[in-house]
């Protein structure tokens, strides 16, 4: 039987993968993907806990997250394209222009 803990473990694993991606990757596009992975990890946790408590609020919240993530990707990708046209690269190490 698959219980709440299993869902939560999957969620935690996915979140960790996403986090490592955010921390280790240098390509901005990959960073985006990693962020999406983290968001979806949270969505899994929301849905699982919502189901566990028989409360729909969590699932509704997951839908909101998905909607916002979609719009975020739309805007983010647009910016990325402009950035790539301008800089010719999406590598973060090369984009470090605001050194203090």
């Amino acid at each position: 039987m698959i219980g709440l803990n299993h869902y939560l473990i999957v969620s935690a694993l996915l979140f960790s993968i996403g986090l490592v991606g955010v921390l280790r990757r240098r390509n901005l596009l990959m960073l985006f993907f990693a962020t999406e992975v983290m968001l979806n990890a949270v969505n899994i946790a929301f849905a699982a806990i919502s189901h566990y408590y028989n409360d729909l609020t969590g699932q509704m919240f997951a839908f909101f997250v998905i909607a916002i993530a979609a719009s975020e990707v739309a805007v983010g990708l647009g910016i990325l394209i402009v950035l790539y046209k301008k800089q010719g690269s999406l590598d973060l190490d090369e984009l470090a222009t605001m050194k203090g």
């Binding site: 955010v22 921390l23 960073l31 984009l95 222009t97 605001m98 050194k99 203090g100």
Partner: protein
């Protein structure tokens, strides 16, 4: 009558504020005239009040408003016009009016003419608050107010540079102003302690309530309060050992010396002792100390006046000496005689100072009497005024000083204090000598000023006319002794000479008179023909001791000023620089260094920012977990 109290009190304040409006603008004669008129109004109000109190014998007590009222503390702005305060009010306003008119002439060429009147009137207002207040708090406000005005006025010519002490016993006005202020702070601490002692034990600062509660207090508390209050009086009245500021205060303009440092402010200490006479009559030890100190100062100051060459300082020493007389009388319980001498002294001493101002004006601010002589030709009226004032000071009948001073000396005899009596008699002789030494050296003999290319001239007419009331009072005030006695002893304790003294009064008076006349004759013989300097005497130890004021200014310099400066230097270099400054600098340096260190985080690389963010998030998580587990 109530309105007259307010008129008498606030006319000087209005005068001060009015003059202050023109403080920054160039000299305008009408400012002086308006101030003088307002002071005259205040004088009229005071005199009418005096007449009223004299007629009815009833004091007027008004409460203008509550000032502090919280818990058990209740201090109103109340004013009391009784026999003592109305005497002081009359003396203060009368002398102030004359001094204001005089200043119009004396400060004629000064560019800060308007400012001067503002300060002078502010002083009169403070003095009125001091004498009219019906509680110790109001008295203290006035006490500090006159201190501030004294500081402003001594340092009126603050731009004058420092002069060294050796060649000329003269220092800068700003130095003298600071000295006066600081010395008075020391004494005011004593005064505050006295007021606190009374408040703690009585729970009120109103005179009537405090004095009514005195019999319930223990002897040690009474003694402590009396001593502390007297320390305050010592500072304001420049009694030994706090006397040095008074002669240095002569750096101020002469009208200031006449008003503040002769007639009014310095007598505030005597006024305090008279006002608090119920307290001092219950503490015979303190009273005797006051009398002994007063007698000592009378002699001590007179001895320094014997050899001084500075016209104004001689008069300042004589003021000190006469204040000593007043304290002697007050300490011996003859409060009304002290008040009588206070009034009489105010008239002839102000006249003497203003006369000296005329001489200074004529001599282009030269003060050395060895450089004067023969001025009576050019300055006939000033000569007469100063002569009359000196006669009154010397105690020659029938002038004012004779009656008041003789009464004090008689009191000392009556109390059986023969040592004090003898000293006071000898001092009377010295007083006569130094006053006339000064008069003769200034006005008689050879005209020594000619070598210095000075062309003396008499003061303006209106100034000389303005001085006449003082001269009249210096001559005639003594005749009112009986009436004055009846007037003030309704409030002050009666003091009568014993039968024995009464019989000897004539002989006692004659002894004093012999000393006084002897002093004058001696001065005449030595100085009237001209200045003959005796090298041997001037190089003698005694002469040098007196000329250097017993080396007390030097002593204070050595044991107080210099160590103080040394300690300040040490504290500055070791404590301030090495501890206080170092701490502040350390904090600043730490912030600067840590900022510099963390600046390296700003790589501009988004990836490393994200790493930092993750670290922060993890830290927060750890903190949240720890707090959940622990708490």
């Amino acid at each position: 009558m109530e309105n007259l109290v307010y008129v008498a009190l606030f006319a000087p304040l209005i005068s001060s504020l009015f003059a202050a409006l023109f403080g920054m603008s160039p000299r305008q004669t009408f400012v002086g005239i308006v101030s003088s008129v307002l002071l005259f109004v205040s004088m009229l109000a005071s005199l009418i009040l005096a007449y009223h109190v004299y007629q009815t014998g009833m004091p007027i007590h008004v409460t203008m408003m509550e000032w502090i009222s919280m818990g058990d503390l209740f201090i109103p702005f109340g004013f009391l016009v009784d026999q003592v305060s109305v005497t002081m009010m009359s003396v203060v306003t009368l002398v102030s009016t004359v001094v204001h008119v005089y200043s119009i002439g004396y400060m004629d060429h000064d560019k800060s003419f308007n400012r001067f009147f503002s300060y002078l009137s502010a002083f009169v207002f403070s003095m009125m608050v001091l004498v009219m207040s019906d509680n110790f708090a109001g008295l203290f406000i006035g006490w500090e107010g006159v201190g501030v005005c004294s500081w402003l006025l001594i340092g009126f010519w603050y731009h004058k540079p420092d002069q060294s002490r050796e060649e000329n016993p003269s220092i800068s006005p700003s130095w003298a102003a600071n000295e006066a202020f600081i010395v008075n702070r020391i004494a005011d601490l004593g005064m505050l302690v006295g007021i606190f002692i009374l408040y703690w034990n009585v729970g009120s600062l109103q005179y009537d309530e405090v004095f009514a509660a005195l019999p319930n207090l223990s002897e040690s508390i009474l003694t402590a309060a009396a001593l502390a209050l007297f320390i305050g009086a010592m500072g304001k009245s420049a009694q030994f050992p706090l006397h040095t500021w008074l002669t240095d205060a002569m750096e101020g303009p002469t009208p200031v010396s006449a008003l503040i440092h002769a007639a009014t402010m310095v007598t505030a200490g005597v006024f305090l002792v008279i006002r608090a006479n119920p307290l001092f009559s219950m503490t015979p030890e303190v009273s005797f100390f006051i009398a002994a100190l007063g007698t000592f100062v009378a002699f001590f100051a007179a001895s320094m006046a014997l050899v001084n060459r500075d016209l104004k300082r001689i008069i300042a020493f004589s003021t000190l000496s006469q204040l000593g007389y007043m304290f002697a009388a007050a300490g011996l319980g003859a409060y009304w005689i002290a008040l009588f001498h206070l009034g009489a002294h105010a008239f002839f001493k102000a006249l003497l100072f203003l006369g000296a101002g005329n001489v200074m004006h004529a001599m282009h601010d030269e003060l050395d009497i060895f450089k004067m002589g023969g001025l009576k030709k050019q300055m006939k009226w000033t000569y007469i005024y100063m002569g009359v004032a000196s006669l009154a000071l010397a105690g020659i009948p029938p002038l004012a000083g004779f009656f008041s001073k003789d009464a004090i000396i008689e009191t000392a005899f009556n109390e059986g204090r023969l040592v004090l009596w003898a000293i006071l008699v000898v001092t009377a002789g010295m007083t006569a000598f130094y006053s006339f030494r000064q008069v003769f050296l200034t006005f008689d003999g050879d005209e020594r000023y000619k070598e210095f290319g000075i062309h003396p001239h008499e003061m303006y007419k209106f100034v000389l006319v303005a001085l006449s009331p003082l001269a009249l009072l210096a001559v005639a005030a003594g005749f009112f002794q009986g009436a004055f006695h009846d007037f003030v002893t309704r409030l002050l304790p009666e003091y009568e000479m014993s039968e024995h003294t009464h019989h000897l009064a004539l002989i006692l008076g004659a002894i004093v008179l012999v000393f006084a006349v002897g002093g004058i004759v001696l001065a005449y013989k030595k100085y009237a023909k001209g200045l003959r300097r005796d090298e041997k005497v001037e190089n003698g130890f005694l002469y040098k001791l007196l000329a250097n004021q017993y080396y007390i200014p030097h002593l204070y310099e050595e044991i107080i000023s210099k160590p103080y400066k040394m300690i300040s230097d040490l504290m500055w270099k070791n404590v301030d620089l090495k501890i206080v400054d170092a701490t502040v600098d350390g904090i600043a340096k730490f912030l600067y260094k840590s900022g510099d260190g963390t600046r390296k985080m700003q790589t501009g690389n988004l990836s490393s920012y994200l790493n930092w963010m993750a670290i922060g998030g993890i830290l927060l998580l750890v903190v949240a977990m720890l707090s959940a587990m622990l708490g």
